[in-house]
């Protein structure tokens, strides 16, 4: 392989003869090279894995619950309001209305 070093001397350069490169590392060998083991490792006691807590309710369930609660709330509120409307309206009979108008004028 051509090996020109422009920090080297000008003119003709001989290819640099060098020690053979180590064989490329495979992914599986990496950890063994990077961290040489000095002591045999104790076998770690197997602890029962803590299971990840499952969420009691999914987002979808919570949303449906809130949505239905809102609808129920609105229905109740509507009927209560309707009742109020009914209770607050006072009807005037023609005579009573005449009396009421006169009273207001006076």
């Amino acid at each position: 392989m051509a090996d020109l070093n422009l920090f080297g001397s000008e003119g003709f350069q001989e290819p640099v003869v060098s020690e053979k490169a180590p064989p490329p590392l495979k992914q599986e060998e990496e950890s063994a090279v990077a961290i040489p083991e000095t002591k045999p490792k104790k076998k770690a006691k197997k602890k029962p894995r803590k299971q990840k807590r499952k969420k009691k309710y999914s987002g979808h369930e919570i949303f449906s619950f809130l949505f239905s609660a809102a609808i129920i709330g609105l229905v109740i509120w509507f009927f209560v309001l309707r009742k109020e409307v009914i209770f607050n309206v006072s009807e005037y009979l023609p005579d009573a209305f005449e009396l009421h108008r006169n009273a207001n004028k006076g």
Binding site: M1, L4, L6, G11, F12, S18, P22
Partner: protein, 299 residues
């Protein structure tokens, strides 16, 4: 060590620790250079300042030890060509001929240029092939000064073509297509040595060469072999065809139509990367030259 590459407006670098021939890459980074640095005036006295700006932050961010620096620069910085010379000439005669030829080619720039040659391993042709690299003296001096001022040791400087070639070369004859932004580079090998390189073009699924330097006979043989491959053919080609990175545009169709003959390469495959280094790599193929410099260090 620090491996630095400047190619197509990008600064890419790796910091690595080397011990007993083993290399562990601690960090890999890529930065887009501002447009002022894309085509610097290599003969300007201001180049020193420009290089200082490019390298300062990068060098300061690294640990104090292991500051050997290996650099790879693209053709905007180093003019790299492969020329044929007569086999019957002695080496001195070959050098005299090349200097005479380059003097005419460079004209007034010749006196301020530094020139480097290397004879390539023979590929059986009737001529010798000489790799030639030219860099302005001012640029070479500025690089040396900036790196030394920053407290580093400049060890190796080469054109990006040679860094890439070191990364992708194999023992067999063949070609490697390499993604370079929106374009593609092609490197042609014979017997594990680069013998030609250039920019290939693809039209209607047919590959040809736009620009080329080196052994054109080898190039036309390899290209015609590639174009002769039929998509459903079961014959394996006699040359190796590899590619590095996601090739752009119409090359995608070429890759998919001939993928059973093509071999994809990852330049970082043979190195141990720390977690930190892995995090910063979006596309490993961008670090082809950096990988070539790392290989150079452990050779």
């Amino acid at each position: 060590m620090l491996a630095i590459s400047i190619r197509s407006g990008w600064l890419r670098y790796a910091h690595a620790d080397v011990s007993d021939g083993t290399l562990v890459v601690n960090s890999l980074k890529a930065t887009k250079l501002s447009k002022d640095f894309h085509r610097p005036d290599l003969r300007s006295p201001d180049l020193l300042v420009l290089l200082g700006i490019i390298f300062q932050d990068m060098i300061e961010s690294l640990p104090v030890q292991n500051k050997e620096v290996f650099i790879s620069l693209d053709e905007r910085w180093i003019d790299c060509q492969i020329f044929p010379v007569d086999k019957g000439l002695t080496r001195d005669e070959q050098e005299s001929y090349l200097r005479w030829f380059l003097e005419r080619r460079l004209g007034p720039l010749w006196p301020t240029s530094s020139v480097f040659f290397q004879k390539l391993k023979s590929n059986g042709s009737d001529r010798d092939w000489i790799m030639t690299c030219i860099i302005p003296e001012n640029a070479l001096e500025a690089l040396n000064i900036v790196l030394k001022r920053a407290g580093t040791v400049p060890v190796w400087l080469e054109p990006c073509t040679l860094s890439l070639a070191r990364t992708v070369s194999g023992d067999e004859a063949g070609v490697v297509f390499i993604k370079d932004g929106r374009s593609v580079r092609a490197l042609f090998f014979f017997g594990g040595t680069i013998h030609a390189f250039g920019q290939p073009i693809i039209r209607n699924g047919i590959v040809s060469m736009g620009t080329i330097t080196g052994d054109q006979g080898l190039v036309s043989t390899v290209i015609s072999m590639i174009n002769d491959i039929k998509p459903r053919s079961t014959k394996s080609p006699t040359v190796s065809i590899k590619f590095m990175g996601q090739l752009p545009g119409k090359w995608k169709g070429f890759i998919s139509s001939k993928k059973s003959y093509l071999q994809q390469m990852n330049p970082l495959d043979s190195f141990t990367l720390t977690k930190n280094a892995k995090l910063n790599v979006n596309d490993p193929s961008d670090f082809g030259e950096v990988a070539g410099l790392l290989h150079r260090r452990i050779m």
